[in-house]
């Protein structure tokens, strides 16, 4: 079996794209988790 596209380490331009892509999905997910934690604490304080 042949190896796929080049080496396992990404070129610098790709690293920026990877960071952007993860931030793109990470920010709304972090917002959702923050809201979840706020609500979940009601179990212990409510």
């Amino acid at each position: 079996m042949s190896s796929d596209s080049g080496s396992s380490s990404s070129p610098p331009a790709r690293r920026g794209l990877i960071a952007f892509a993860w931030v793109w999905v990470g920010i709304p997910l972090a917002y959702g988790l923050y809201e979840l934690v706020q609500k979940a604490t009601q179990l212990f304080t409510g």
Binding site: S10, R14, A21, V25, L36, V37, K39, A40, G46
Partner: protein, 444 residues
């Protein structure tokens, strides 16, 4: 549309965020309940009527995943993500029009029918591609994506509620909220469409272990004729039924359970319990699915089903004697529920190969639709009957718990019956390789 094959230097770590952008969006479906009260007051609907768009959406999810899986395999993930984007977003836009002109049927058709197709195609769109990029860690890869489906509701629920608060809960406010949802999700999902790439045949850069297309390969048409497919169907159906049994009635269940004790559960504490269950559901998707890469798929389902049954038995036997024990057991059950969803694509890949794993996964999701009806039906029907018989507190749910244990045991047995697929079902090696090669050629 042809999805491009990854160019040289393309990182496989770009594929999970592409998948997440789709799953975090379509996961909004589980936050539909936010729109129910405003719709009911604005359009004069009953609770049953206002649930219709969601119910039709889930039915369409199952149908489009089952019948669209082969198309997804044939046309690739970019085509599938584009279809999901168009259907899911235009579903919201049609619903916005329906709310603006106060035509509820248009909301049902738009969000439920059109949007539901987006849910099904979107759900299966990245599965096959992720498995091909991560042949060494398929459980983790699909776990990330399917965790996103759980995360979508966590994002949409507070976001939609805030939007309705700002725009107002009348029909024009709801229409504006639907419009903003449709446009925002279109932009958000676009990242997935632009980023997703299929690997060239062979081993993707950075992957350990066997290459992508090694091992037995089975077509979707043959897979549904194998006992392994139907054993897994039973496994998934039983595991999901057991999870939904708690998830669907979580708030009233914890309130009823401890209603007759010295420390009853308040409404806000019950809401906190529901939120904690969602967290366990999400954590299970990524955590247990990644664990399956280490201990094997059959073993992890032994844990989901066997320990799950034990947790139900503990809840039933402990009754209202210990709140922490009840909460802990429920959290473990919900983590297994999420884990069961997230691990099944990798289990399918182990049994049937990567050849048409997306299409096979789509067909298997009919087990989810069945469980979606079965789980709530069992718990609600029994709780109503017990209440009519004059019971209260934990005893309202004791019988349901024992039924759930029975279902999990059935699932456990089905998992034990899973064996490697007989070679007569395998696609001849050259045919599978030629198909993959043709896909790559067409996609260039």
């Amino acid at each position: 549309m042809s999805p491009p094959v990854a160019p040289a230097g393309w990182s496989r770590w770009l594929v999970p965020p592409a998948a997440l952008s789709v799953h975090l969006s379509i996961g909004q479906a589980y936050a539909w309940s936010v729109f129910k009260p405003p719709l009911e007051s604005a359009l004069g609907l009953s609770g049953t009527q206002s649930a219709l768009p969601f119910q039709l959406g889930i039915v369409m999810l199952g149908l489009s995943a089952a019948f669209g899986g082969t198309l997804v395999e044939r046309n690739g993930p970019r085509w599938a993500m584009t279809v999901a984007l168009i259907c899911f977003s235009s579903g919201f836009l049609l619903a916005a029009l329906g709310a603006a002109v106060e035509q509820y049927w248009l909301i049902v058709f738009g969000y439920g029918f059109v949007g539901g197709i987006g849910l099904g195609i979107g759900y299966i769109s990245p599965v096959s591609t992720l498995i091909k990029w991560f042949p060494d860690r398929p459980g983790m890869a699909t776990g990330i994506a399917i965790m996103g489906f759980g995360g979508g509701a966590l994002i949409a629920s507070p976001w939609s509620a805030q939007m309705l608060e700002s725009f107002g809960s009348d029909s024009s406010g709801i229409a504006l909220a639907f419009l903003v949802h449709g446009l925002t999700y279109a932009v958000f999902m676009l990242l997935g469409v632009l980023l997703v790439r299929v690997p060239r045949t062979g081993k993707p850069a950075g992957a350990d272990g066997p290459a992508v297309f090694e091992g037995p390969q089975v077509s979707a048409r043959s897979a549904v004729r194998t006992p392994q497919f139907w054993c897994l169907w039973v496994v998934l159906c039983m595991n999901v039924t057991a999870g939904i049994g708690i998830l669907e009635k979580a708030a009233p269940m914890i309130t009823d359970f401890f209603a007759t004790t010295s420390t009853p559960v308040s409404v806000s504490a019950a809401a906190g319990f529901v939120a904690l269950l969602s967290a366990a559901n999400m954590a299970g998707r990524i955590g247990w699915s990644s664990t399956s890469d280490l201990i094997g798929r059959k073993n992890i389902y032994r844990v989901y089903l066997g320990v799950g049954a034990l947790m139900y038995a503990l809840i039933a036997l402990a009754g209202d004697s210990s709140k922490p024990l009840f909460i802990l057991c429920a959290l473990v059950i919900l983590s297994f529920y999420g884990g069961g969803f997230a691990t099944v694509p990798a289990y399918l890949k182990d049994l049937f190969g990567t050849y048409q794993v997306g299409a096979i996964h789509g067909r298997l999701l009919t087990a989810w639709s069945t469980a979606g009806v079965l789980g709530p039906l069992i718990v609600n029907w029994i709780a109503d009957r017990q209440e009519a018989a004059g019971k209260d507190g934990a005893s309202l749910y004791t019988l349901s718990m024992f039924i759930m244990i029975g279902l999990l045991v059935v699932g456990f047995v089905a998992n034990e019956l899973v064996r490697p697929v007989h070679p007569r079902h395998h696609v001849p090696a050259p045919a599978a390789t030629e198909k993959e090669a043709a896909d790559v050629q067409r996609q260039r």
